[in-house]
Structure formats: structure tokens, C-alpha cells
């Protein structure tokens, strides 16, 4: 079967805002692992609409599989969804050395250096964040996921030497315990 959203063109109705919020909540937690996961989600949204829409509103509240697929596809093309697929736990796959390298780089140099770091295949994230003086002087954060502390240390030493960064103040924070690791939930209220 090919892509339903493409086949049926632009005639598919958009979801209302309640449905959009609910769809986002559902997909954030992952697809159900069965033959027709988008249909299952559509049915879940339909059930929700039936219970929340007031009788005076007339619209057909049934949500179709195509609407779900099209909406996810739209979120992807808008960039709201950066990628869609298997999200794995690195740690469980033997990538237990998770290092956050933090640098204190002069503001004037940070973009140039960060762009060089970002090109390195070992580095999976490279973000600028604010300094919080005097407690926290570092303004650039890189992540490396490696299979051992030693391997990651070697990778960092290589990067520092090849990019000529030995004069820059830095620190490395290895994680030694993961208390929680799951996808973001963009919740609408504080709850603990």
C-alpha cells in the first residue's frame, strides 16, 4: 500500500485544535505496535471527540487514518517533528559513556568554533547556552555518546588537538546514572 495522504490529495479535513493537541500527546508516547497504528490512533481520537464535543456542535467528529497520517506528515514538513522513527536507548545498546563537554569560549569566537565542532561526526549535539556567573562559566555544550569512557576521552583529545582548542577552558561531565530517559511531554500544567 502506498502513501494514502499523497493519493487522496489535499481534500483531507484538518483536525480541530483539541484533536491536534490530543494527537500530539498520543504520538509523543509512540505508535501502538500493531499492523495499522495510524488507524488505531484515529479511532482513539474519534472516541475522544464523541465524549467531548457538545451535542449542539454538528460536525462529523470521526477522525480518519488519512487525517492522522497527513497531520504527522505536515508536522514533519513544518519542522515541528525533527525525525520520526525508532527512538532507542543508547545506554542499553552499550553506549554507556555519555559525555557532556562544556566550553567557556569568548562570545566573539563562539560561532566559528561551534560550527567547526558541529562538523565532527563524534559530536551529536552542539548548543550555545547562557553563562551563569559566578557558578557556571561555560557557554557551549557538546554531547558525545561512546562505548567507553576511555574511547570518549580519546575522541575529545583528538578534537581538541585537531581544532587547536587546548587554550580554551572546558570541563567534561560523564553521566554515571540515568534516572529518566524518555521523550518530551509538552504538558499544559504542573504536575508531580
Amino acid at each position: 500500500m502506498t502513501n494514502l495522504a499523497l493519493e487522496t490529495g489535499s481534500e483531507i479535513l484538518s483536525l480541530n485544535s483539541d484533536q491536534l493537541n490530543k494527537l500530539r500527546e498520543i504520538v509523543e508516547q509512540g505508535l501502538p505496535i500493531n499492523s495499522q497504528p495510524y488507524l488505531a490512533i484515529a479511532n482513539q481520537l474519534t472516541a475522544m471527540s464523541v465524549t467531548t464535543v457538545s451535542v449542539k456542535q454538528m460536525p462529523s467528529t470521526a477522525v480518519s487514518e488519512q487525517q492522522v497520517i497527513q497531520q504527522i506528515s505536515t508536522w514533519q514538513s513544518e519542522g515541528l517533528i525533527r525525525r520520526f522513527g525508532l527512538v532507542v536507548k543508547h545506554r542499553q545498546l552499550g553506549y554507556s559513556a555519555n559525555a557532556m563537554i562544556v566550553w567557556n569560549i569568548d562570545d566573539i569566537d563562539i560561532d566559528a568554533i561551534a560550527n567547526q565542532l558541529a562538523l565532527r561526526s563524534e559530536i551529536s549535539l552542539c548548543y550555545r547556552r547562557p553563562r551563569r556567573l559566578p557558578d557556571w562559566p561555560y557557554n557551549l555544550f557538546c554531547m558525545i555518546h561512546g562505548q567507553s569512557t576511555k574511547q570518549v576521552e580519546t575522541q575529545i583529545a583528538t578534537i581538541v588537538s585537531e581544532l587547536g582548542l587546548s587554550h580554551i577552558d572546558k570541563d567534561i561531565l560523564f553521566s554515571h546514572k540515568a534516572y529518566k530517559q524518555h521523550g518530551a511531554r509538552y504538558q499544559r500544567q504542573v504536575s508531580a
Partner: protein, 166 residues
Amino acid sequence: MSISVLQQQLINQYQKGFPLCAQPFKQVAGELGYSENEVIDAIKQLDKLDILSRVGPVFDHKKAGASTLAAIAVPAVQLDTIAEVINQFDAVNHNYARHRHCLNNDAGHKDYNLWFVVTACNSIILKEVLDEIESQTGFPILVLPMEASYHIDLSFKVNFSGVHHD
């Protein structure tokens, strides 16, 4: 723990671009030369082994809502207890104990050893969550929102030949 060839292929080829069609697992199966049931079973087993977090989206935090990296400096003996308090918040999605490695230039910076990510649908709720965590833990939070992203590639090539499983 043993990971089948199919599971390795799923992990390395479907971290992005998962099919958006009526029977996505069937499509994946066709692309890899397996049956739909084999793919579904393989994914269920990855879930059971706690290797899979989910099959789903990774949102762009900036576009999807408000989020920040945060850290607190906790005495080592209290680390597990405080981590547990923070874990109770649904808005916290990553929470790691980290230790500083260098310390060769210790200029009196605080020893931030508990690092977590907080997300919410907007910055007002985010601030409320941070305030609540601060009040429940009793520790001041270092709040470090992203200001610029130079690179992000969360899809991650796993080298199975070099992996040592416990």
C-alpha cells in the same frame, strides 16, 4: 542480550523516515525482506529488552514548546533521593547524574551533579515547573536554555560489532 540482524537493521535504518502509510510495519518488512509479523515481533522484543524508547517523533523543542536544560548541585548522599523527587515531574524527560571529569582548573565553580531536561507547552508553565522543583528539592536550579543550535543529529549509527552487552 542478543540483538538479531533484523533488529540491528531496524535500529540503524529506521530512526528517521519511518513510513507514514496504512501499514507501516508491512512496508518496513517489504523493504528489509521480512514478514510484517517478524518486524512487529522484533520491535516488541526491543521494547521488552528496554532498548526501544518508542516508535514515534522527536520534536523540535524550540518549535514544539518551551524547554530547558537544568542542573542542581546535590550532596552525593542525597543524590538518589533528590533525583527521585525530580523524576516525579512529568515535565522532566531526561535526568542524569553526572560527575565532573577535569577539575584541573577548579575555579570554585559549583559541582553540578544532577542534570535534567524540562519541557512544557510554553515558557510560563516551564517557569512554574522549575519553581516547583526548586521548592520541593530545596536546591537552587541552574537554568540553561538553548540559545543557538549548531548541530543536531539524534539519529545515531550503532556499531553492533563493538558493543559489549552486560
